[in-house]
């Protein structure tokens, strides 16, 4: 029997509120899983926010919930995620430029094979990866430089809306960002984000983002 919209909405709000505000770890962790079970993509921004929870179990459950929701994600959630990543404006300005060519990204190759030929192929793949990662990083930095106010905004809802507006005003940047994400794939995005923020949390949902992009 389908649940009425009124009850659906009430339940959604109640779970989101507990996910982000309950003092108990088990309640926040269980709320994350419950939101995953509901398969309501409106929960994605809240679950992304829970990825920065101080407790590891809550973060793990948020990832689990996102992975259950995976198929129905949209590109607007990338925006939310980007906001999250830019919550640390300090790291942004203080992080020195990173030289991807020196990075040990051969390890990121998808398959593990020991022979010489595949090592060379991995090396070539890393070159592309490095270029894509550098491109993504450049674009994100450009976005941050042009809009310092967005990234200094403390209220997340306001910040999300501002970034939405900014990306609407600047479709070129948006499409370049998306296509760079596409060509470099998950690993490029991950490397770029890690480099910019040095925040281990932000790397977690990258597989999910890739899913969103491919679903476009």
């Amino acid at each position: 029997m389908p649940i009425s919209n009124e009850f659906r909405e009430m339940r959604f709000r109640s779970l989101c509120h507990s996910l982000l505000n309950d003092p108990s770890i088990t309640v926040r962790a269980e709320s994350a899983l419950a939101l995953g079970r509901l398969r309501d993509e409106k929960a994605i921004p809240n679950l992304c926010q829970a990825l920065t929870d101080e407790n590891e179990q809550v973060r793990i459950n948020a990832v689990t919930a996102l992975s259950i929701l995976d198929e129905s994600l949209t590109s607007s959630d990338i925006v939310t995620l980007l906001i999250l990543l830019f919550r640390v404006p300090k790291a942004m300005s203080e992080t020195p430029k990173y030289d991807f060519r020196g990075a040990n990204i051969g390890n990121f190759a998808e398959t593990v094979q020991g022979d010489q030929i595949s090592t060379q192929q991995n090396y070539a793949a890393s070159q592309n990866l490095a270029e894509a990662a550098a491109e993504i990083q450049k674009l994100l930095e450009q976005l941050a430089q042009n809009n310092p106010a967005i990234f200094a905004e403390q209220d997340q809802a306001v910040a999300i809306e501002s970034l939405h507006q900014e990306l609407k005003r600047n479709p070129t940047l948006k499409s370049r960002l998306l296509s760079a994400l596409k060509s470099g794939g998950t690993e490029a995005l991950k490397i770029a984000l890690e480099t910019i923020l040095k925040n281990p949390l932000v790397a977690i949902p990258v597989e999910t983002i890739k899913g969103w992009i491919e679903a476009e």
């Binding site: 009850f7 009430m10 339940r11 108990s24 309640v27 962790a29 269980e30 992975s67």
Partner: protein
Amino acid sequence: MIQNLAHKQMAIETFSSTLRDNSPEIRAQSAEVLGVIGSYTEVPELINALKDSNAQVRLNATKALAKIGDENAIPALCQLLSEDPDDEVRSSAASALGRIGNDTAQNIADDSDIEASKSIAVFTSKIQQLLIQFEQHQPQNPEVHQSIAQILQQQPDLKQKLHQFLSPSSIPLIRALIQNSLGQTMLDAICQEVAD
């Protein structure tokens, strides 16, 4: 399982009335049993039990309502989730809210997805522990590989478990959870060993 419908109805009526017993233990047990044999008819009684003074009764009532899965329990469960003083009761209310409205097969499939994800998380934290040990004596890649091969040889159970965890879909998640490049090397070595 009670086969005779008349007997089942009798049992349900008995437990519905003992849901108001003076003893909190009996009320808690009754709520639990109604989750198994009860149906939509018992939902109002169970919703009432969410206001019980005893936390165990409230906890068992949330679980029973999760099993029966009636949307009419949603407002009361939401209230419990935001107001109950007991952590376990609030947590169980959240879980019940996630299950109501899904069919049983869906809930079971989700349970197993969640369980798999937890295993991966435990596995990842194991790798991270190993990583700390390895980092203390800064081994080179061949040494990492050798140590892992050794560990897996000593623990065939672990190897078997890893074989189950490391499906093509779980590897990217683990990879994303491990931040350190030595950890990535270890994961690669483990994948290789387990595949043999």
